[in-house]
């Protein structure tokens, strides 16, 4: 294992120190491992997310004006704990309520659910939305349901903009659920990731094969297939996603995220093919984002997310945002 770390045990704490050093507009609670926005939130709904670390910039890099108010960082690939999430909710609540954005993994669900109960006991109005957008899970052996991946980022951006405009918790929650219902993702891995504390790749993948429908923790996918070209893989992604949801007649927000170890030039080559394929299917790509946004440590590969939008969602997508990973119109 070759990694730029001091030790696996201190990696998360060291990274949080780096986040604090690099981004003066964020405030880091090192004890509770929470990254807070310092943007004013007087009287408006606050957004809290979090999850296992190793998917950066999700979620800490998406904290700031127009997006998340707080992100709770768990250990690598391990959910944050309820007391951590409660500490975040308590600090960002202005009285207008808090929305929890949760990815569909058992540990995340249980810990956010418990945190919501504890927060309500303290009089904080909490609503939760669960992202379960990974179409790869449908035909696999999983029974814990679909995993949450790229739709999370699009939801955090759009719901964050709505909260910044002063929407009520009920309205922000309903909007977030609309995004959850309208988002689908599919990914593939060319190599395994290596969890620092484990020190070796999570699974073996031969040089001439790829794992289609991989999870962002290296969970098994739909199937192991011979290596594909960018065109072939893009077609497979679009095929899986559009078979699962009817995007016709709706403007689409597209996210192609690298999984951490794939260069941007390959992601753009992939995206060109995605764009062509959507054109052939008469699906209008209204907005797009290409880069490393929802990653899996050093895994090579990528994941495509499509969210069916409307004018209201697009307007919120375009609204000002100022976070380490996303920044426009601010």
């Amino acid at each position: 294992m070759k990694k730029l770390i001091n030790s696996p045990q201190t990696l998360l704490a060291d990274a949080l120190r780096g986040v604090a050093a690099a981004h003066g507009q964020l405030s880091v609670d090192f004890e509770n491992r929470i990254v807070f926005s310092t943007a004013p939130r007087e009287g408006r709904v606050a957004l809290v997310s979090g999850g296992g670390s190793g998917h950066e910039p999700l979620h800490s890099g998406l904290v700031g004006a127009g997006m998340l108010d707080a992100a709770c960082a768990g250990e690598i690939f391990t959910s944050p704990t309820p007391d951590q999430i409660l500490a975040a909710a308590t600090r960002v609540n202005t009285g207008a309520g808090v929305l929890f954005v949760v990815k569909n993994y058992t540990g995340d669900l249980l810990n956010f659910e418990m945190a919501a109960e504890l927060a309500r006991e303290q009089g904080i109005d909490v609503a939760s939305v669960v992202v379960a957008d990974d179409v790869a899970v449908e035909d696999s052996t999983w029974t814990a349901g679909r995993r949450g991946v790229g739709t999370t980022l699009i939801m955090e951006k759009v719901a964050g903009a709505a909260a910044a405009r002063g929407w009520s918790l009920e309205k922000v929650h309903a909007l977030a659920k609309r995004i959850a219902d309208a988002g689908r993702s599919m990914g593939a891995a060319l190599t395994s990731c290596t969890v620092p504390a484990v020190g070796k790749p999570s699974f073996d993948l031969p040089e001439d094969e790829m794992e289609l429908g991989v999870g962002i923790h290296g969970e098994p996918g739909r199937k192991r297939v011979p290596m594909m070209s960018a065109a072939e893989l893009s077609h497979a992604f679009v095929e899986s996603i559009t078979t699962d949801y009817d995007f016709s007649g709706k403007p689409v927000i597209a996210l192609l995220t690298g999984l951490g170890g794939t260069p941007l030039i390959e992601l753009y080559a992939m995206f060109a093919e995605v764009s062509d394929r959507l054109n052939e299917l008469n699906i209008t790509m209204a907005r797009s984002l290409v880069g490393n946004y929802v990653t899996s440590l050093d895994m090579r590969g990528c994941s495509l997310t499509l969210v069916a939008a409307d004018n209201e969602i697009l307007d919120l997508w375009d609204a000002p945002v100022n976070t380490p990973a996303l920044r426009w119109n601010d």
Binding site: S79, T81, D83, N111, E113, M114, T141, T143, A144
Partner: protein
Amino acid sequence: MPETLTINALQQWLHRFASEITRQADWLTELDSAIGDADHGTNMVRGTAAVVTKLDGRMTGTVQELLKAVGMTMVSTVGGASGSLYGTFFIEMARNSPADVRLNGSELENALHAGVNGVIARGHATVGDKTMIDALEPAVTALSRSLADGRQLQCSIAAAAAAATTGRDSTKPLVARKGRASYLGERSAGHIDPGAASAAILLAALAASIGEGTA
């Protein structure tokens, strides 16, 4: 024969739970590496050790306060799904315990039932899903039946512990339907569920400590 459980007996239970978890940690981790992510032993050792530290700092208070402190400590130190489930077990026990320094048989029965129901509500698992519920549910059923038959508390708790062990072993041939092991589908069969194993340790520790600590 004593028919109440004092707060000291409960503390002995939790100390024994911690020491048994530590003694059997490698086995729990081995079970977890077969069908999960190989951290159940480590996580439970960390959580139960934190509980012991917490208990050593405060020997007073009510049963309610004690169990709530245990639950909150497990939630914040075990992590993942197990931390939330064990935490819920103790917190729900606390909510359904008397604000007193002792529990009688029916109060213990109520509290344990509430704890198990809390785990079921949190994890949405039922008997046969290959989870800790496979050990916990038969244990509280055995406890209730034994108490209803007019048997003594100590004897009834021993019956509960025996039922938990049988329940633990019943998970071996099952295909997991909940939690991380469910990701393996058919490949999860042939292994004891690590959560059911730690839950059986929890009941065995209660049976072992009640013999020493009733008053």
